[in-house]
């Protein structure tokens, strides 16, 4: 009986979290059954083929980019020893603290035809525009490069954990059979790490699909920019939601493919003992160092320097109290939201572990879909829902107490926290579930046999084993919330701004230098959790790295 209630509550809360997605599904269904094809057919005839082409090319490009960068750096920093390797092993996470659109602004500032690089070239050689070839930064290629540089740490983080876990015996067996280090990588380590690579790449691709800021700034028309063009330009919110529904369908397909590819094989290895690293010397060490420094330089150091330059130009901003208020708002929001999201993820993950019925599994998976949906679309779905609940609350309160409480849900921080939960639950859920998967049920049973009470089992076995993955989840969600823009823009209350909002308003008005201080501050605030995460990673390298081995939301 108790179990039944628990199951019901799990399903119900997962569905509540997925509610904004229902609004999108409803729009799609209204298209299929309602037969109002006017907007969609116009778009289909004019722009949708291009949207799909660009989105697909973007995803292929980003997939290649993040996998190459992420796997190469992960392999080099775990299985090889070269100068700077220890520093790099945590510094390579830093690009995560950079919002993609901010990186896009900084590179445009540097590489555009009126940027520093091209004007210096023209001055130096007396060229005019058109006399020389220079890659166009605002292009599909530019978008692929920027998104790859910002998102590769996802692949790095997850793959690195797997490489660390890979049983030494497997690699050593390979070596004793005469494989060179290169061959060990290509023929043993890489195939074994495939699930981790695919999971990391999936997270990066979901972010890519949801991205609006970068592609819009670069003038690349993708499916997501199409959603906004339909809404803003044609004034057709319903048509926009229908496009979002198509996007949602594509995401579900992506997740199913990922899951299917994983089912093909089992990757268990016995006796995880870290392999002896390859000691690199001479030219090889230099090359390895270069291969790791380059993505760090391009993905973090250069953009951060550009932001620092703008911030110095606008140094007065740093002395204004309302600027620090923004930083405080951003930090408080990220902190609260990450605790909330991880708490919910823990509850769902535990429920799914103890009651793995079909209903629970499916609804938990549904609750995690929000990651790939553009934040603004989630915000609109939420707005529709929360304002109708508010209307009911206000009506009830007025008839019972004669008092109008105002918009309790849709006009307050509650709406923002709800939106963040829907959008980022997937990140927390995957991290926590991976951690939980390491605690085998036999451990619980063994402890119970030794006379531990359930509470003691939780305290002395689960909590210590889960701590690293919970920490990782809190930090990943915190950094994501800090960077989040579109939902924040729509749902925040009066007189409440964040760093992301300020940076966007300035950059949107083409005042890039004014966007410098808030953007730099955002990176600095985001840096703290990222460094914490890296330190936690280093500490637990020996025994508990498995927590970062993401697993799919449902098996």
């Amino acid at each position: 009986m108790l179990q039944k209630w628990r199951q019901l509550s799990l399903v119900a809360s997962a569905l509540v979290l997925g509610l904004p997605l229902f609004v999108i599904v409803a729009a799609l269904l209204s298209l299929v059954f309602g037969g109002d094809f006017a907007t969609i057919s116009h778009l289909w005839a004019t722009v949708i083929p291009e949207y799909i082409r660009h989105s697909v090319l973007l995803m292929i490009g980003v997939a290649i980019g993040v996998v190459t960068l992420g796997v190469a750096t992960a392999w080099l920093t775990t299985c090889c020893r070269f100068p700077g390797q220890r520093l790099l092993s945590w510094a390579l996470l830093l690009p995560l603290a950079m919002p993609a659109y901010i990186t896009a602004y900084t590179y445009t500032g540097m590489l555009d035809y009126s940027g520093l690089v091209q004007t210096s070239l023209r001055d130096l050689f007396g060229w005019n525009y058109g006399d020389y070839w220079f890659p166009q930064i605002r292009s599909l290629g530019g978008a692929i490069a920027v998104l790859s540089l910002v998102l590769f740490p996802y692949v790095y983080l997850i793959t690195r954990a797997t490489f660390l876990q890979q049983s030494a015996t497997t690699i050593e067996a390979g070596r004793s059979l005469g494989l060179s280090p290169w061959q060990c990588f290509w023929r043993i380590a890489l195939p074994l790490a495939r699930p981790a690579i695919v999971t990391g790449a999936t997270l990066a691709l979901m972010e890519t699909l949801a991205d609006y800021g970068t592609v819009q700034y670069f003038g690349v028309t993708t499916f997501t920019t199409g959603i906004f063009r339909t809404w803003y330009g044609l004034g057709d919110l319903n048509g926009a939601l229908q496009l979002a529904g198509l996007l949602l369908a594509a995401v579900i397909a992506l997740i199913l493919i990922e899951r299917w590819s994983r089912k093909q094989a089992r990757y268990d290895q016995r006796n995880p003992r870290p392999a002896t690293p390859f000691q690199l010397t001479g030219a090889k060490a230099w090359l390895a160092s270069l291969a790791c420094w380059l993505p760090l330089l391009l993905g973090f150091i250069l953009p951060a320097l550009q932001l620092a330059g703008w911030s110095i130009e606008r140094w007065q901003v740093w002395t204004q109290p309302d600027f620090w208020q923004l930083a405080w708002n951003s930090f408080g929001l990220a902190f609260t939201a990450s605790l909330l999201v991880v708490a919910i993820a823990l509850w769902l993950a535990y429920g799914r572990r103890q009651l793995p019925t079909k209903w629970v599994r499916t609804s938990v998976a549904f609750a995690g879909l929000g990651y790939a949906i553009p934040g603004l679309v989630i915000a609109v779905g939420l707005l529709v829902l929360l304002s109708s609940v508010d209307q009911v609350i206000i009506a009830a309160s007025q008839s019972w107490f004669g008092w109008d409480p105002g918009l309790l849900l849709s006009g307050t921080l509650f709406a923002l926290l709800f939106a963040y939960t829907v959008r980022f639950l997937s990140v927390a859920l995957q991290t926590v579930q991976a951690g939980l998967a390491e605690i085998r049920p036999s451990m619980d049973e063994a402890a119970r046999i030794h006379g531990y009470r359930p509470f003691q089992v939780l305290r002395s076995i689960h909590l210590p084993l889960l701590r690293p993955s919970v920490l990782t989840a809190i930090i990943l969600v915190g950094v994501d919330v800090l960077k989040e823009l579109p939902a924040t823009l729509v749902l925040r209350p009066f007189d409440f701004n964040t760093l992301a909002v300020r940076a966007y308003e300035m950059a949107g008005d083409e005042r890039l230098a004014d966007a410098g201080p808030p953007a730099l501050m955002m990176v600095l605030v985001g840096l703290i959790p990222v460094i914490l995460l890296s330190r936690a990673m280093l500490k637990s390298q020996q025994h508990a790295l498995k927590e970062q081995n993401f697993v799919p939301v449902t098996a």
């Binding site: 009126s114 330009g233 109008d404 230098a513």
Partner: protein, 342 residues
């Protein structure tokens, strides 16, 4: 176990936040604004100082704020909705979120083509969208108007931003009014053929492209040139000095102008305060503030232009009904989709 406690604590604090945010002060007026904070807050603060009425501000994208207004319905805390571009104002009026402005004083100050239908909104400032040309390479006497942009003489020589941008949508909507859909679509095709680079970047980027020699002609709003002329960055000032404004279609319908405007929400609970703020925004001092801070043209007749606006010279504005821009907006976007203007 510590987690449930944490959850409780969090939910309680969320509720507390919710309550504290919903208690409104009596003498307040709440503004939803699609104008960026930096371009509106100083005026609102002056108003608060003068009248003692507190102004609470929420900025955001015009369409998103409108969606929020619509969903909040009669419970909306907003008293005023301020947005840029006639297309957005028209959309808000159509959505039924405004109530008519009745004050004769306010209505008489602003020319009637800058009123919404049934006086549901009123213009606050005007932004002109002329053609910019390279001083050293273009003889302005060869130019006449927007039709030049599609002329093969300027092949591979025109810069303009994406058609995602509402300023371009409104320009196209105005041309549809003057030329009809067919001729405008032909024009859009010609324009796309003449582009020197993909239509990316903002207005400022198009002006800089002219300065850098990427193209000879560009279309942009004038206040971006103003921002560049007043920039702290020497490179920007230099770029600005290389371009000049050509006022298009002076012999016919005039240069395209767009409007930023404001309306009182239908369910405003602080209507008196809202009307006071509205009147203040049309006062000479607020109007001049727009003109000097953001180089926009005052909507109120007889308000003196700033030095910079005077330097750019007088010109004939297109005086079509602003709501026409809104009515033609969807047609404009579809036309641009067909013409391959990205």
């Amino acid at each position: 176990m510590r987690l449930p406690k944490m959850q409780k604590l969090l939910s309680m604090s969320a509720l507390a936040l919710a309550f504290s945010a919903s208690i409104a002060n009596a003498a307040t007026v709440n503004v939803y604004s699609a104008r960026k904070e930096a371009l509106i807050k100083p005026v609102l603060e002056q108003f608060s100082e003068k009248t003692g009425i507190e102004v609470r501000l929420l900025t955001g994208n015009g369409n998103a704020l409108l969606a929020r207004l619509e969903n909040e319905g009669e419970n909306t805390p907003a008293d005023l909705f301020l947005t840029v571009d006639a297309g957005n104002l028209h959309r808000a009026a159509e959505a039924g979120v405004f109530q008519p402005i009745t004050s004769e004083d306010v209505l008489l100050k602003v020319p009637s083509n800058l009123h919404g239908k049934d006086n549901l909104w009123i213009g606050l400032s005007l932004r002109a969208r002329p053609i910019f040309y390279a001083k050293d390479r273009v003889d302005p006497s060869k130019l006449s108007g927007y039709q030049d942009l599609a002329d093969s003489e300027w092949d591979n020589n025109v810069c303009i931003r994406s058609s995602d941008n509402i300023y371009n949508q409104s320009l196209t909507a105005a041309l549809i009014h003057h030329w009809g859909v067919e001729k405008t679509e032909e024009w859009a095709h010609g324009l796309v053929d003449n582009l020197a680079k993909p239509p990316v970047g903002g207005d400022r980027d198009q002006i800089k492209a002219v300065a850098a020699g990427v193209c000879d002609l560009a279309v942009a709003n004038t206040y971006y040139l103003g921002l560049m002329e007043a920039s702290e960055d020497a490179d920007e000032r230099e770029a600005a000095s290389k371009v000049a404004i050509f006022w298009p279609n002076q012999e016919s319908f005039g240069t395209h102008v767009n409007v930023s405007g404001i309306g009182i929400t239908k369910h405003s609970e602080n209507k008196d305060a809202a009307q006071q703020l509205l009147a203040y925004l049309l006062s000479p001092e607020a109007q001049q503030w727009y003109a000097t801070t953001n180089n926009e043209y005052p909507a109120v007749k007889g308000v003196e232009w700033s030095e910079r606006l005077k330097n750019w010279g007088p010109f004939k504005m297109d005086d079509l009904e602003m709501s026409v821009l809104g009515e033609n907006n969807a047609a404009a976007v579809k036309l641009m989709n067909r013409a391959g203007w990205r």
